[in-house]
Symmetry: C2
Subunit: 305 residues, 2 copies
């Protein structure tokens, strides 16, 4: 298992480097700042944050590798057979909040988990995905985002994209609003049904696809002019992002409850946010169209090549 | 029990009226708008919200009375003996976010819960309290706030204030920041150790004390000039308020998970909020003093008359 963990780690560190380089080049002004940190109970991470850019108002691309002699109770609650095992958890997680409300917020994550015990087979799985949260959305962008997702999944079976697209819709859902967080993408967890090499190849395909999915959208929208009213709309919608991350996101809650590094976990929160009582966009407006048309768990590739 | 519920309801509706009238008079510009709502499963509420005032940027003072034939599972999880009982829950809950960062945010709540079953004694309890969240704090305000709290508790026993002050510190604590939400006040739950009349008199004392605790602070601070930098500090600190309410507050989580009225529950969230990666005030600044001196679960009345 040591070789496998080393291979996953090498891939993840390189993925973090490549994503940061691509985003910096696209921004053209801001640079990532790095915070290397250690976890007292074992492991650490390489947090990279960026902000006040020409494109990116706030963002982070984080690598972490944490391990320990014994799984925390919160991690083994649903898998009692793993209680007391040593574990390793590695991942890259990123959130990009652009300043321009015409450029969507994006999130991506790839992670590997392994629980070991002397004399027994290691238990391991992968998880990850990417999803998009537009403010002023375009059909073209949604189709492109999902097409890249589908094409990345295709070599692994025709059922993979529809299953993980649907899982993404189900996961990124604000129950108390009965509203999806965004226009979806891919989400998967507990992936170990294929052999290790195939699973690892799959998460590499997903990790590598993120930049191909996001950059063309950024390039198409980043020069669209915007005004204060549109920034306000973005700030209200970002409130929904905060609600999801703090109330529902398992990764965030697990991190905060298990003594994770708070600043690395909460780097996902948007820079400026508004809440208003019973705030709603004008009926018939472009803003109302976001929830009425785009945030409806649509099949973006129906009838598309 | 019907008479008791009617008496509690009459008190709570009157308390809501009196608090709204006092806050409107203090604001001088904004008026509360009322939203009466019904809960499909039984009961409803009278949500009153205010905003864009001379004093209050966003606030709400909500009354609700919900009931049903059978306690929701989330409410009986920790009290299995109540499963399947009919229930009534009544309360007034309020949060006031002033625009001026020199005026603290305040929160208060009084609530009554009763679970009944034919042929058995009703099970009932009260809960509530009030707590203060300053941005630019003053010793004088903290002492005044806690003195009003102590004096309201005094007729019910000398141990009441210290116990409920300590419970408040314990409850309004952001574990992932190791930081209290504010400078505290009172918090209590499961109150039924005294007879009904005494318990009811106690929550009336607490409900009535809120305005005496808050208004003098508002009056002292509302004319203090403030600048953009201080508004920014307030916005970052309000981020902590959001983190507490969405990650830890039992009332908020219970409400959102049990299909409560989302807009009434989330009226507690501040109007404009910021998050920055690893954001910290300058060492030695007035802003740093908030966390270093004021947010430390201090005994504000030590050595005070």
């Amino acid at each position: 298992m040591t070789d496998r963990i080393a291979a996953v780690k090498t891939y993840l560190l390189d993925l973090q480097d490549r994503i940061c380089a691509a985003l910096e080049a696209e921004d053209g002004k801001a640079r990532f700042a790095e915070d290397a940190w250690e976890r007292p109970a074992g492991g650490g991470g390489r947090t990279r944050v960026i902000g006040d850019g020409a494109l990116i108002e706030k963002g982070g691309v984080n690598f972490s590798h944490v391990f320990g002699d014994s799984l925390p109770p919160s991690a083994s609650a649903h898998r009692p057979e793993l209680a007391g095992r040593g574990f390793q958890a590695l991942g890259v997680s990123l959130v990009i909040h652009p300043e321009n409300p015409h450029v969507p917020t994006s999130h991506a994550n790839v992670r590997f988990f392994c629980a070991e015990k002397a004399g027994e087979e290691p238990v391991w799985w992968f998880g990850g995905g990417f999803d998009l949260t537009p403010y002023y959305a375009s059909e073209e962008d949604c189709v492109h985002w999902h097409r890249v997702a589908r094409d990345a999944c295709a070599p692994f079976g025709a059922d993979v994209y529809p299953r993980y697209k649907e899982w993404c819709d189900r996961y990124f859902h604000l129950k108390h609003r009965n509203e999806p967080r965004g226009i979806g993408g891919l989400f998967f967890d507990d992936l170990n049904q294929w052999d290790f090499d195939t699973c690892f190849a799959f998460i590499r395909a997903i990790g590598d696809a993120y930049i191909d999915a996001y950059l063309p959208i950024v390039q198409r929208r980043k020069h669209t002019p915007f005004d204060e009213r549109q920034r306000e709309f973005q700030a209200y919608r970002r409130g929904r992002y905060v609600e999801f991350n703090l109330v529902f996101d398992r990764g965030t809650l697990f991190g905060l409850q298990s003594g994770g590094r708070t600043e690395s976990i909460l780097m996902s929160l948007p820079p400026q946010v508004r809440w208003g009582y019973d705030w709603k966009p004008e009926p018939g407006s472009e803003e109302a169209r976001l929830t009425e048309y785009f945030l409806t768990d649509r099949d973006w590739l129906a009838g598309q090549p």
